[in-house]
């Protein structure tokens, strides 16, 4: 595989895996939200915030994918064919932390969000549920940190 292929593969998995996780997560949370809103439309605000929390992993993945594509010269259209294999591989491995952790944490965060909807439904208060769900996100943030630092360091 050439360097540019490695880099492209890295950008693709950085985007696709967290994207899958986030769409599953937002989907699950959306179903739970609809149930709560059907009972009481006034709670739609809090439910929407809870539903959107698992969306961030997909955005982190997108950012890493974009940075890889930009650094590797994929966006200029010329396709930097002279990209060294070691550099391309570096980009690929830099994508792994957010790709894997993003996928898993979006799914698990969504489950906390769905449980948080119960708090909204029963107590009419979403703050506590949001706090619980954000805790899961810690690891996605740490992963995006490592991914970005690694890909900045690739030489």
């Amino acid at each position: 595989m050439t360097g540019i292929m490695w880099a492209a593969l890295g950008a693709v998995i950085a985007l696709v895996l967290p994207g899958i996780g986030s769409s599953i997560g937002v989907g699950m949370a959306g179903r739970a939200a609809a149930g709560v809103i059907a009972e009481d439309p006034e709670k739609s605000g809090q439910c929407t915030v809870l539903q959107l929390l698992p969306a961030t992993q997909g955005i982190y993945g997108f950012i890493v994918a974009f940075l890889i594509a930009s650094n590797a010269g994929l966006l200029k259209g010329s396709g930097a064919s002279d990209l060294a294999v070691s550099v391309g591989r570096g980009y690929f491995f830099a994508a792994l932390p957010i790709a894997i952790v993003g996928l898993v944490s979006a799914y698990l965060q969504s489950r906390v969000c769905c449980a948080g909807m119960n708090i909204v439904a029963k107590q009419g208060e979403g703050g506590k549920g949001i706090v619980l769900a954000i805790m899961v996100e810690t690891y996605a943030i740490l992963a995006v940190l490592v991914s970005v630092l690694m890909l900045v360091g690739v030489k």
Binding site: K128, V131, I141, V144, L145, L149
Partner: protein
């Protein structure tokens, strides 16, 4: 600072009760507890009946007030789409309490009218349904040109009306069935005579021809005429229906009245509820509750003004009692109580951490956002919200926190961050002195800085703990459990960083701290536990490590904000570049599209990062900081007050 509570028992004349309760609610000074004659709650009612005691308020009144709230709420819900929507940044209207309560009957009248209209609508709907059903059953018989009610049995035959397929008519004729057919095509309505003497044969022939008996509606008349008649009736019903709906929509005009009525009903409901907590005899009543010690005199004055005669007893809470918690802070710190309360309000006998937490909260919030442009937007947005929307309660507190959080973000953005996702050096050239530290380039320095700040906060928490324990006279905990660790940290720092005799003093200090932990760590345990307890305490060091490392999240969140903003800028500039090439309109279109795109993307970036920073920052306070000194478990002081939903109550 936690304001101590006083327990009050008030005895006064029943004649003054309503007036006193009104004053108390207006001023929001006491939290009423259920007045009990006896310790055991269950026996009170029995005992009360025997002694001629009862509750001042009646359940019936409370139910009525609760129903008022529910009914008006339902009406507002039903009329929601017809009501003028308040603007995003519109402040709630302001009214006096009496004004709100006076609006209740009007609101109930509107509710009544709405209920009547809804009933009429339902009736019109069901009538229309019924008529449609009749038309449906008459439609196959439309070609029957005789009035249906003229079909009557004769002495020798019954008649049955139904439909048969046109091609089966001959079959019926051949079978010798006497019938009259109305039409020649498709499904033909057929009126058949069934001899009373021997119905079975005719019926069998009819069945064989696929005859299906029609359900004859009760209306009678010629079907075609009846259908025309019904159609016109339906048209007038539809007219009525739309008129009724217009009337319902017109009720939306009463939005302000209904909302005032709801707030008034809510005020009445909470007062009725409170009155059910009071014990009363025929002539007197007793109220029990809590009052802030700094408002005790005010309460006395209020009651003295309203009561002809009263006895007010105030005392400090007993040890076994759990008074509510009320924290009092100055204007700057007060909003941060929201953060503490998200975790748990402080124990009423504990320590209010707001003032020692707020500076750290602001610092770490700023570092996590870390973008001067975003800080500017947050501060301006929060100020605008406070100025125009005039929110109350939690929303107001969050806005006030964000005003200062934004300021902190602006400063931190200059020190370690970016400006709307752009590097300072890209904006002002390489010579620009800011940021002082670029976390993207000096990762290790940034990591050490953030964890160092975290360590500083943890040490601060330990110092607070020492102060709390010493003021309580518990010097043992202060010295052995907290001070000893500080000695180790200080000693180790001196030993590692300083040269000369101070280095050896450091060794001594650290050794002394270690010794204190080992010897006294297990002082509350018995026997062998005394020995192992102290050594076990040394394991706490792992807790310190993980707590300090937890501050790495500051690094991650700060970086995430900057990188996200930067990527959004790149995307926008690519869009700009692509659109600029369009002939003639290119410059304008690319400018407009890019401007809108930038605004949307950055708003989104601010929203999700502010939410994350707000909560992660709170978490650092709860877990890493409060762990060192905080006693949670209080219940917030909730005085009887005029709590409303749509209107602001002016005193």
């Amino acid at each position: 600072m936690i304001v101590p509570m006083k327990h009050i028992s008030l005895f006064a004349l029943k004649a003054d009760e309503r007036r006193i309760m009104k004053t108390l609610q207006k001023n929001g000074v006491i939290q009423i507890e259920k007045a009990e004659e006896d310790e055991s709650a269950s026996s009170v009612d029995a005992l009360a009946n025997a002694a001629g005691l009862f509750r001042a308020g009646s359940e019936a009144e409370l139910t009525e007030k609760q129903n008022n709230v529910l009914r008006i709420k339902a009406a507002i819900g039903r009329l929601g789409s017809y009501m003028p929507k308040p603007g995003m940044l519109e402040a709630p209207p302001e009214h006096g309490e009496d004004e709100l309560i006076a609006a209740v009957p009007g609101a109930l009248a509107v509710t009544e009218e709405l209920d009547g209209l809804l009933k009429q609508i339902a009736r019109a709907k069901s009538e229309k349904e019924k008529k449609l059903q009749t038309i449906k059953s008459l439609t196959p018989l439309v070609s029957v040109d005789i009035p249906l009610d003229s079909i009557r049995s004769t002495r020798t035959a019954d008649f049955t009306l139904g439909t048969v397929k046109a091609e089966k008519l001959d079959q019926l004729r051949e079978a010798g069935v006497m019938f009259d057919a109305f039409g020649t095509e498709g499904k033909v309505p057929v009126l058949a005579a069934v001899p009373k003497a021997d119905p079975d044969e005719t019926l069998a022939c009819l069945r064989a021809a696929g005859f299906s008996e029609a359900a004859i509606p009760a209306c009678g008349g010629v079907p075609a005429d009846t259908i025309t008649e019904l159609r016109s009736e339906i048209a007038s019903l539809e007219l009525e229906y739309s008129e009724l709906n217009q009337k319902v929509a017109a009720l939306g005009e009463h939005a302000a009245e209904l909302k005032m009525g709801l707030d008034g009903a809510m005020i009445e409901e909470s007062r009725a509820k409170a009155r059910c907590e009071l014990l009363a005899t025929r002539e007197t009543f007793m109220l029990e509750g809590w009052v802030r010690s700094d408002e005790a005199e005010k309460l006395d004055g209020l009651i003295a003004a309203d009561a002809q005669a009263y006895y007010l007893e105030m005392r400090d809470p007993f040890d076994e009692e759990q008074p509510p918690t009320y924290c009092k802070n100055n204007k700057f710190f007060a909003p941060f109580e929201f953060v503490t309360n998200m975790y748990s309000p402080p124990d009423p006998r504990g320590f209010d951490p707001t003032a020692v937490m707020a500076p750290f909260y602001l610092l770490f919030f700023g570092l996590m956002m870390g973008d001067t442009g975003y800080g500017l937007i947050i501060t301006l947005g929060a100020l605008l919200m406070l100025k125009l929307k005039k929110p109350k309660g939690g929303t107001e507190q969050v806005c006030r926190i964000l005003v200062w959080g934004g300021v902190s973000t602006m400063i931190c953005g200059l020190l370690t961050g970016t400006f709307f996702g752009m590097n300072w050096s890209d904006l002002f050239g390489e010579g620009f002195p800011f940021p002082l530290l670029d976390p993207m380039k000096d990762q290790m320095t940034a990591m050490i800085l953030y964890c160092g700040l975290g360590f500083f906060q943890i040490v601060a928490g330990m110092v607070v703990s020492i102060v709390i324990h010493v003021t309580r006279g518990d010097w043992q905990t202060a010295l052995f459990d907290v001070g000893s660790w500080l000695m180790i940290f200080a000693g180790a720092a001196a030993a590692l960083l300083v040269k000369g005799p101070v280095k050896y003093a450091g060794y001594v200090l650290a050794g002394l701290g270690l010794l204190l932990i080992i010897v006294f760590g297990g002082r509350n345990k018995k026997g062998f536990g005394r020995v192992t307890g102290g050594i076990g305490k040394l394991y706490d060091i792992t807790g310190f490590f993980s707590d300090v490392l937890s501050y790495a999240r500051v690094f991650a969140l700060g970086l995430a904000t900057g990188v996200m903003g930067g990527v959004f800028n790149m995307i926008s500039s690519m869009v700009h570049g692509a659109l600029k090439g369009i002939p003639v309109v290119g410059p304008v279109v690319s400018f407009v599209v890019t401007a809108v795109l930038l605004a949307l993307l950055h708003m989104f970036c601010i929203a999700i990062n502010a939410l994350g920073s707000f909560i992660h920052c709170a978490r650092l306070q709860f877990i890493e900081y409060y762990n060192r000194f905080y006693t949670p478990g209080g219940k917030l002081f909730k005085p009887l007050a005029s709590d409303t939903k749509y209107n602001k109550v002016i005193k």
